[in-house]
Amino acid sequence: MEFLAFLVRRVLWSLLVLVGLSIVIFAIARIVPGDPARMALGPTATAEQVADLRADLGLDRPIVEQYGRFIAGLARGDLGRSLLNERPVASDIRDTFAATFELVLFTIMLAFAFGVPLGVAAARWKDRWPDNLVRVFAIFCAVTPGFFLALLLQILAGYVLHILPTTGRLPPSMDFAADITGLVTIDGLLRGRLDVVLEGLRYLLLPSIALAAATMGQIARITRSSMIDVASQDYIEASRAFGVPERVRVFKYMLRPSFVPPLTIMGLEFASLIGNAFVVELVFAWPGMAAYGIRTILQKDLNAIMGVVMVSGVFFVLVNLLIDVLVGFVDPRVRIRGRRA
């Protein structure tokens, strides 16, 4: 019951944030200096052509009406057309977002699957060699720039060892269209094409390792410090005094209360990687939204920029909502008090 109330509160809060976000994005798009129509058409266009495009885009309307149209479009899933090639922005974003989402999802899973156990091991053998090793490794991962790692991996695994593919999502020879969810591995699974799933994973591996390293380092570090903090709590000593074995103390009594900080980090990283993946996407020729977003910015394609930012924002809010729910699930104090402990 209290969980439902907690959930409703969180959802309402997220909606509020989304409304705020749409206003901010709209305002910024209208405040940036320069006329989007002029920018799109270039210096050689005539004044009439510019005026036509402005009318087309509704830029000559009162600002409130423009915002109304913007919102109405959003509600229909219509993000307008690209100012450059007239393609609907929404469909470009849909295609590229799926690629980025698959990459980032896999990245986060890698970071979590390795970061948490490393952090637990470091805390369990605090100040002994496993801890020192993990700490050095985590720092190393956290400070290595993503593009450097991306190039290193590409050269090493791709060109020197020839064990993994270095560009794209699937071999060009493979005849497969990810047309259900847009995620190659998931669609391969849904269509019963195991060969596609395996190839998809092979293609995912290098870019996602390059992208995961920093996040994994962070998750390992925060898990370690969180575990060490919990280890010194009275309730851990109490469970020892009651004869609960160490294995249970570490993996049950310590890990669960320690789980909230890494979960929170995971949420933040998940959302910010969507935008920050562009370097890795460019290096590995990954047809993702992060790279698309950068291109649209360089080309000053206003509608596309707004679309990318809006989609990233919605994704950010949704991921955080999901994380809040998970945190509430892990820590009853949160869902009972309705805030983080």
Partner: protein, 281 residues
């Protein structure tokens, strides 16, 4: 001496930190006969908790080392017992009541979860066969013994949903799970308000008497000593400086240190002017 349930004989414990050795316990001896109520009193830092941890086998070595002495439980020397045998006694034959009800329960698991887990591993150590449902029934049973009105609801609760007094009673119930013969209570209830603390001490005393347990009450409060013990050991700087029947000690304290302790501590009375205040969750 050998007929006592628990007997600490000339126990010395050192702590080494940063290359320095501190003699934290010096030749501490004390006896807890079966069904007796013994108090161990002393100011902060006098070594009460270290004594308790040594008895329970909870001292971490290093930094601690047992420099000398023996600890007998039921005639067996705990310090020479194999780890496995020793573990069989911890939380089962001898059990602890923890001091701070706010911090001694895991915040993210229900009371039932925490108590059945303790019971599960106690059962395993003692080769007792019992299934999950029987364990839960036992949990409800001990919660009833500590006078919970609605044991099933308490068992389903997370610690945060219970008042301080209720949590302290859960901690007592936890200690009772495996029917120990000896309860060691390190300052129980000092984190609670005076009224609730008095109720907790009364409950503990009643339980110990009704179930024929021995109680070692560790405290720095002579008011608690007077309420809960018949014999008292006074500790100062790692040594037992005086030990006598409680009534005698209060009538005529011998040591200046004891006199100072008695003078310093406000009386703790069982009843209260404000009536009984059981805080609803």
């Amino acid at each position: 001496m050998s007929q006592a349930l628990l007997s600490v004989d000339n126990l010395s414990v050192d702590f080494s930190t940063y290359g320095q050795t501190h003699h934290v316990l010096k030749n501490v001896s004390l006896d807890v006969p079966a069904r007796s109520q013994i108090a161990l009193v002393g100011e902060s830092g006098s070594g009460k908790t270290v004594t308790m941890k040594a008895i329970m086998g909870l001292l971490r070595q290093p930094p601690a080392t047992i420099a000398g002495g023996r600890i007998f439980y039921d005639g067996r020397d705990l310090l020479t017992l194999p780890d496995k045998e020793r573990l069989k006694l911890r939380g089962t034959a001898m059990s602890m009541v923890f001091q701070d009800p706010m911090s001694s329960l895991n915040p993210v698991f229900t009371i039932a979860d925490q108590m059945t887990t303790i019971l599960k591993y106690a059962d395993r150590r003692l080769d007792r066969q019992r299934n999950g449902r029987d364990r839960l029934a036992r949990v409800h049973e001990v919660l009833t013994q500590v006078r919970m009105r609605d044991p099933e609801r308490v068992a389903r609760s997370y610690p945060i949903m219970l008042s301080g007094g209720m949590r302290q009673r859960v901690l007592i119930a936890m200690a009772l799970l495996s029917e120990p013969k000896l309860l060691i209570a390190d300052e129980p209830g000092t984190a609670l308000d005076v009224t609730t603390q008095a109720q907790i001490l009364k409950l503990l005393k009643d339980l110990v008497e009704a179930r024929g347990l021995a109680l070692l009450m560790i405290t720095h409060n002579l008011g608690v000593v007077r309420e809960t013990s018949s014999y008292v050991y006074v500790m100062n700087k790692g040594q037992v400086v005086e030990h006598r029947p409680t009534a005698e000690l209060f009538a005529a304290p011998r040591e200046d240190y004891t006199k100072a302790l008695i003078a310093a501590v406000p009386r703790l009375t069982g009843g209260t002017r404000f009536g009984t205040a059981e805080v609803a969750p």
